[in-house]
């Protein structure tokens, strides 16, 4: 009976996204040839009541992206959790993975619905742009729909086959389904990314006079910013998935009625935060790569982004990233209160806090701002006499690399808090680890300072050395840690559930901040095209051609975040109705293996 109910639920979930996709295809077919055959010329733009066309397409695209990021990030999270459960033979990871995969089912519907809304909005409000893109990218749109079907059906197999493919080789087959689900999802993402990035960075041979059917498909598809965006979004989706999982766990923790529940959701929150912050650590590198490619594609676009009308946006971004680093570290530091043996590390947290705060301050220092003559006079020049020195990329790269090292150190201390290594070379290993940190920090500082004394073109290359130093240190320290913690003694079990409520609010703030930051960066990416639908190829001639100021953008972003969080909460609630999460086996267990690499 329960199988049949489950099947019926599944069919309902299956049907909705398919219906949406089918409706889009049907509408496209209806709009096609007959009217054109009568000499009908489609209008360039439509009108949307009250909020206008720009806000309408903005909201539709942003909400679709939020859900898309969620349904791409969570499967990565689920597969990794399932694999850890299999390798360590810990069922709680398997249950965690299943719990989130269940939520994915409803989220897929929401993603498809918002995708359909976006397409309808584009067709009705921006028919010329839609027609142009459809002509350039038609083959990839067909493939997109096909892969979306594959992705959906793989998800259903992955979720509904969970209990059937539970043992022996079948379990590995089930894991393979999860991997396949991620592969389909990634393909869907990179296809859609090509459309978006083409609008930003069309190939050089495409001009305003180039007919869309003359644009070479692969040249348009693999345009200059396609791969940097793919990488950036891939990592950002992991961050986002982890953050939403953390927020879900925090909410459940705050509403828990039993110690067992609190322990379960405390553990889940830790895992979510771990995934989010781990991926966040490498995200700035991907962002820097993207920025560099934008500059290489078009210096003017790069200048618009960093020194033009968007220059203040990066101050706001720095503020948000500062919140992320501080909240993520704060959560870990508070969490150390429930780990026996962590007391010995707590004196260091104040120094780490100083590094993080100074890093945020440097990162938030503006440099190349648009200023009026009065402001220039008041400042005594184009740049602030003191702060201007900290606004250059040398200082900012140095700051962010040190913040990343500090956050990694927080994780390391957290993971080692209740461990006592037993290998004979433990002392030497710890000394080498400390040396790796010091050497990496010294290299970062050296190139940061040296950057002031060399031409800009040389200075740009220094960031690579800084990044390599930090990544080398992280890899080296992690490798040593894994070896050193083999057979380590426990100083006591983590007291899951004995976490102050304020740490849960930190997780909620992390999720809201990640979501808002995604909206802000979406505005930056799209806004640097300014008054072009396709940069320097198709001009925006609508009444909304001007790119709005950040104040207006922030209102739209906040509205989108609220709508998204509201809908996700509904999905979580619905998911809870369908099947109660399994709470078990987390009450008194060692630190998750993820943290120690043990």
């Amino acid at each position: 009976m329960s199988d049949r109910l489950s099947l019926a639920r599944g069919l309902r979930r299956t049907t909705l996204p398919l219906l949406c996709g089918g409706a889009v295809v049907a509408l496209l077919a209806l709009l096609a040839d007959p009217l054109l055959a009568q000499g009908y010329t489609p209008r360039d733009y439509g009108d949307f009541p009250l909020i206008g066309s720009r806000a309408a397409v903005w909201i539709a695209a942003q909400l679709h992206l939020f859900f898309a990021a969620f349904v791409l990030g969570v499967p990565m999270f689920a597969v990794v959790a399932e694999l850890i459960g299999m390798l360590n033979k810990e069922e709680r990871f398997d249950k965690l993975a299943k719990e989130f995969t269940r939520l994915l089912l409803v989220s897929y519907s929401a993603t498809a619905i918002w995708g359909a809304v976006l397409v309808f909005v584009l067709i009705t409000l921006y028919p010329r742009v839609w027609g142009y893109l459809a002509e350039v990218f038609a083959p990839s749109m067909w493939v997109y729909v096909g892969v979306f079907f594959l992705e959906s059906f793989t998800l259903y197999l992955y979720y509904y086959g969970w209990d059937h493919l539970k043992k022996g080789r079948a379990k590995w087959g089930h894991l393979a389904l999860g991997v396949l689900l991620n592969i389909w999802g990634t393909i869907v993402m990179v296809i859609a990314n090509s459309w978006v990035t083409y609008m930003m960075s069309p190939p050089a041979e495409v001009t305003p006079d180039t007919a869309p059917d003359m644009v070479r498909f692969w040249s348009a598809f693999a345009n200059a910013t396609w791969m940097p965006i793919n990488i950036h979004r891939f990592i950002a989706n992991v961050v986002f998935g982890g953050a939403i999982v953390g927020a879900y766990a925090a909410f459940r923790f705050l509403n828990s009625e039993t110690e067992e529940e609190r322990a379960h959701y405390d553990w889940m929150g830790y895992i979510g935060n771990f995934v989010a912050i781990s991926a966040l650590i490498v995200l700035p590198f991907a962002g820097y790569y993207l920025g560099r490619e934008i500059y290489e594609f078009n210096q003017q676009m790069g200048t618009t982004m960093m020194g033009g009308f968007m220059s203040w946006l990066w101050v706001v971004q720095a503020f948000l990233i500062g919140v992320l680093f501080l909240a993520g570290n704060y959560y870990l530091w508070v969490g150390m209160g429930r780990i026996p043996g962590a007391e010995r590390f707590q004196p260091y947290t104040k120094y780490m806090l100083v590094v993080l705060v100074l890093g945020v301050m440097v990162w938030a220092t503006p440099r190349n701002m648009i200023a009026s003559r009065d402001e220039l006079t008041a400042m005594g020049g184009q740049f602030h006499p003191f702060l201007g020195v900290l606004g250059v990329m040398s200082a900012k790269n140095t700051a962010v690399n040190l913040m990343i090292l500090t956050t990694f150190l927080s994780f390391l201390l957290y993971g080692r808090a209740n461990k006592r290594p037993t290998v004979s070379w433990a002392q030497r290993g710890t000394t080498i680890q400390a040396a790796l940190f010091v050497i990496a920090a010294a290299i970062v500082l050296f190139y940061g300072v040296y950057g002031y004394f060399v031409p800009a073109i040389v200075r740009i290359g220094f960031s690579v050395y800084q990044v390599l130093a930090v990544l080398t240190a992280i890899c080296g320290v992690m490798t040593l840690n894994v070896l050193m913690m083999q057979g380590a003694e426990s100083r006591g079990d983590i007291r899951w559930g004995q976490m102050p409520d304020r740490a849960q609010y930190a997780l909620l703030i992390l999720a809201v901040t990640f979501t808002w930051l995604m909206g802000l960066m979406g505005f930056a990416r799209s806004g640097i095209r300014q008054h072009w639908h396709v940069y320097e190829v198709m001009r925006d001639t609508s009444v909304d051609a001007a790119t709005p100021a950040l104040g207006y953008a922030s209102l739209v972003i906040s509205a989108c975040v609220l709508m998204f969080l509201g809908m996700v909460s509904f999905i979580f609630w619905v998911g809870g109705l369908a099947e109660k999460p399994v709470i078990s086996g987390v009450g008194s267990v060692p630190s998750p293996e993820l943290a120690t690499g043990d």
Partner: protein
Amino acid sequence: MTNLKVLGVVFGTLAVYTWVANSIPQLESVVPEELSFSADVTESELVAAGQELFRGGGGCLVCHGLPTRAPNLLTDHEGQGTIGQRCATRVPGEDCKTYIYESLTSPMAYVLEGFDPMVFQARVFSGAQIWALVAFLQDQGGTVTVTGADVAVAAEADAAAPAFGGPLTASMEPLEIMRANLCLGCHVLDGEGVATGPPFDGMGDRIDADRIRRSILDPAAEAAEGYEELLGQMPPTVVDLLTARQLEVLVQFLAGQGS
């Protein structure tokens, strides 16, 4: 109560971010208007158009916003004042308007000591846009002397000029081709030019003619040894400004540089 707190945290966080974003200067990116000046254009119209170009489409801030790459034009430079104040004193006997105009249209003419030559693609701008830039720069502490007559003459010249993409010189003399196309702005030959990219001296010893040809046709395809970090910096449009014969003249000339 817990749910209310959660809502409070969510709304509070969003409110703070929205407030911060609304507290900073609100800059909107307006759509630039096409420049179609007539002879009766006013000074303020020229200055406004020049400012928009300088801060936006002209890409001037790419270098002039970074004092290490080019002198700042809007602020003091070595005690000589802003560009409007110092332009008339740069070259004896040359007034401010002529100096700035020449600097824009012949970037190799006046290279300030300690800086590289300006890589400004004047040819992609109309005459009216160049004069608008001159007017804006003069306005930075000086007196605007650009007139509608200057613009009218430039407009006539634009109308008679070949479309963008044609060769910049008809010469078949390698050095003239190089100078006209600003090649020596980044490469050195016999002590002339700037050593940013690989030197032309001895080029034939390092790479063959085919490689040189490929490097001009598609500069971003392959990095020169020791100059990997500059990959993508050479303008890919150089080849559009050469005739086929000029390209071959350059290739053979460079392949012949060396022992």
